[in-house]
Symmetry: C2
């Protein structure tokens, strides 16, 4: 938790870059293979590390290349400056016996600082992650996709709120955070009322059209770590040989816009 707070504080930034790297979208001069994956991701990291406090690895984009994609992920983790926070966006879940192996995989084999976890299977499916007190476990609460209406918003209170309320009880090591999509600022306000200091990982800005100002207004809480995740809108800012310059500018744009809004909220 300290590593994340330090990173946010020293860069005055809340920007998390999602490395959702796909050859369908990356510049065509970059090879459509794992070497291309590594080159593209390293370029993105170089172009954005000035203003990025965290990189989020969505495992799907590495697993699709087979074991070689995972080897690339490992190399990228070594490439990222040590003061930058890393998140395995793995959305894992399993029974306790099995999930302890996932915890070991993402906190030891791959030395991530945090992971995203799917709460559907309940407490014992989450517990092994929580036993790493220095790591943050972000539970999916309300996600940014259309399908969030199918179950997460059903019930009374809605399922995502049930997850948050249970997590408050499970949070003995003070290392639980939540994934809350920017597409529902009212739900973020609801979360902040229940759990004012929870670390939040917020996707849904950028390609997914969540509203930045109302999201930040509801999500910001002094001392609570907050990460706004942008993926495609920064990664694919341009598809020419000059893409790094465009990506850098786009990341700086987002960083400044977010920091400016938060500054205004904080002083108001």
């Amino acid at each position: 938790m300290n590593k994340l707070q330090n990173a946010i504080h020293s860069k005055n930034s809340y920007l998390c870059i999602g490395l959702d790297a796909s050859p369908i979208y990356w510049p065509q001069h970059i090879a459509n293979n794992v070497q291309g994956l590594e080159y593209f991701c390293k370029s993105i990291i170089e172009a954005t590390q000035e203003c990025s406090v965290a990189y989020k690895f969505n495992l799907a984009f590495f697993e699709v290349w087979g074991y070689q994609g995972l080897r690339t992920m490992q190399r990228l983790l070594e490439f990222i400056p040590k003061d930058i926070f890393t998140i395995a966006d793995a959305k894992r879940s399993d029974i306790g016996h099995s999930v302890s192996f996932y915890a070991k995989a993402f906190f030891e084999t791959y030395p991530f600082d945090a992971i995203t976890v799917n709460p559907y299977m309940g407490k014992d499916s989450i517990q092994p992650f929580l036993e790493y007190p220095e790591k943050i476990t972000f539970l999916l609460a309300l996600t940014s996709n259309e399908g969030s209406q199918d179950f997460q918003l059903q019930g009374n209170p809605p399922l995502y709120e049930q997850v948050i309320r249970k997590a408050v009880q499970w949070n003995i090591h003070n290392n639980i955070g939540f994934v809350m999509g920017a597409t529902r600022p009212d739900a973020i306000l609801n979360l902040r009322n229940i759990f004012p200091k929870a670390p939040l990982l917020i996707p849904g800005i950028g390609t997914q059209s969540g509203d930045l100002t109302s999201t930040l207004k509801n999500a910001y809480s002094p001392g609570a770590p907050l990460l706004i995740t942008i993926s495609r809108a920064i990664l694919y800012a341009d598809n020419t040989a000059n893409f790094m310059r465009y990506t850098q500018n786009k990341s700086l744009d987002y960083h400044q816009k977010i920091s400016q809004i938060i500054h205004e909220i904080a002083i108001s």
Copy 2:
């Protein structure tokens, strides 16, 4: 679906072996490394393939070894006889754009016949898997762990039933199945009333103490593919140099017990 039904029919077996291979439990003469992982899993496959209709790979036990564990998984997939059904017990979930990469990973990069998927994120998080009509997508409905009480059994109807009812609407390619723990035979009966022909993948027999007879009585439905998953109780039947013989006997025991009970149900 046909591959699974053919395998069940030709072997008159419903046994699925879960390859939850851990050096904590495997025989001590086998090395505690990825070579040991490959050797142990190949031994288990050799010892059990006579009566096993499916192998289930829980990804946690391969990911914990890093990319080399995934390379081992790929080799094991090539090692398994082609008439035996393979399941990626991955419990994946993500927004539609990302989850299409998981679908490609587990149905193309690794040529599994089926996958387990976590339904928490709703329809668009499942859709990309369903677009492979020849593959089966098993949704987690009611799992066998204690944490299933936290959310899956909450609500009216309970969340696991909401998942099943939604899935009936999504099942246009007739390729959705469910994971239903043996620890709740009454819920399996409930599922069969809603969705009589759904393929079922049933863990929770063996180490987890679900009741086999009542589970099979409620789960069996003529023409509906049914797999009883046993993992640790077969894998770790013995920890000496003779473990293959014990594992083989244990798998035959389970196979015969299951087939006998189903035979009695079918003729009654």
